[in-house]
Symmetry: C2
Subunit: 251 residues, 2 copies
């Protein structure tokens, strides 16, 4: 049973304001909730259908049963026949003055769509990146769409935030490579890129902000195919192509 008070609390977490106030967020659907169980995050509540509940037997959190209809009404998915969880937001990692010098970090400069943010998080997880850096004005990583699109990366790849991105980049040690995508940059196919430093991806509508652009040490260009006419690529798609080029030498 889900009490009226709990239902109200859960539904409040659809909104960023209440996610921040309560420092909590929702994880929804069978796959994401099962990923959550191994993630080491603190779970406040689990809500599951009777059919799915046995799969949550090992979880250390209060378990509430609900019909598929009730569960769907509590969450943001079009339908949910499995479960949702209310989870404590982990503290965002601070943006430190230095980086792991042997790894590449992905930084997002105003990526506003939660689905794109989640897809980029999933990419960071695929490439084993140590963290995902968010500028101000990015989508909320605890938005249910970002969490869903991350496909479990929310429990594995830490998010670092809390400082102005351009200032942080400009204060990194001088030898830190800072890469950004640019239509007039160097063709990535002609470079031997090593996965060390920071790769910054700009916002969907405005690309990189001017201040961040000034902190770049190299601009990278993804070539069109012959006859290709699209003006640009989706931000997650661009990041994917760049990351594959960074990791060609090591995989």
């Amino acid at each position: 049973m889900v009490s009226k008070a709990l239902a109200k609390y859960i539904r409040s977490l659809h909104q960023r304001k209440y996610r921040q106030r309560h420092a909590a967020f929702l994880v929804e659907g069978a796959k994401s909730v099962l990923e959550l169980l191994g993630a080491g995050l603190a779970i406040e509540h689990l809500v599951a259908t009777p059919a799915f509940a046995p799969q949550l037997a090992a979880a250390r959190a209060p378990l509430h049963l609900a019909s598929e209809e009730e569960l769907t009404q509590l969450g943001t998915l079009q339908t949910n026949a499995a479960a949702l969880a209310v989870v404590r937001q982990p503290a965002l990692g601070p943006l430190l003055p230095t980086l792991p010098t042997t790894q590449l970090v992905l930084a997002l400069d105003g990526v506003a769509d939660p689905g794109n943010l989640g897809t980029l998080w999933r990419l960071a997880d695929w490439y084993g990146l140590p963290g995902l850096v968010l500028s101000e004005h990015c989508a909320d990583p605890f938005n249910p769409k970002a969490v869903a699109a991350s496909m479990g990366a929310f429990g594995r790849v830490p998010v670092w935030a809390g400082r102005d991105l351009a200032t942080w980049l400009s204060e990194l040690p001088a030898e830190t490579a800072v890469f950004g995508a640019d239509l007039h940059g160097d063709n990535v196919h002609r470079l031997a890129l090593a996965p060390r430093g920071v790769l910054v991806m700009g916002s969907e509508s405005h690309g990189l902000s001017e201040a961040v652009g000034q902190a770049l040490t190299q601009r990278l260009h993804i070539p069109h195919g012959p006859g290709g006419r699209a003006e640009s690529l989706n931000v997650a798609v661009s990041a994917a192509i760049l990351l594959d080029n960074f990791f060609r030498g090591v995989s």
Copy 2:
């Protein structure tokens, strides 16, 4: 002014059933509507705010003025301060028994999310592919989210459909290369791929169908980064990485 009858017609096109019945679809927002003007598609109606209308002066279609609020209520975007268009659906191209032998075609096997479908369409446009093939059970390419995510590709890259994908693939000339993504396939970094044949991408939840899998001539694997743990990548992200690998030799 938008008449009540026109408003009702426009809103009906939010639903696939009515898009099919009327063989029409919506194009929304400044960028997409401006792309539309050069696309050679038949426009039934344009609705624009007075501020945006001058940019549509050259269009050959009835222009209706509406406030930003009215316009937003007619369409599917969260806000629309510019314009929307009602456009005739172009006939989908038939799946012919042979392919342009010097080009690569992207085929989607049950890609169900309209945003993913649109992002893949945009990718096909970036790489200059001659067409996008859709199996049955794909999202509707004329879904407003697919049209928006295609970023103008809806007017440049034709969609081919109308036959069972596996049957079509199996009946292509024997020398046609048919590629698909597979976690156990060949590492794309160790291959010299030429952009000729068909690249098939599977559905978000089930990957390639068994029948399509049997028609493949080569399975391709995108390597993880060291320590990477995500089980899979988003379908558009995977397609992007594969296409970049196909076109490395020519760009």
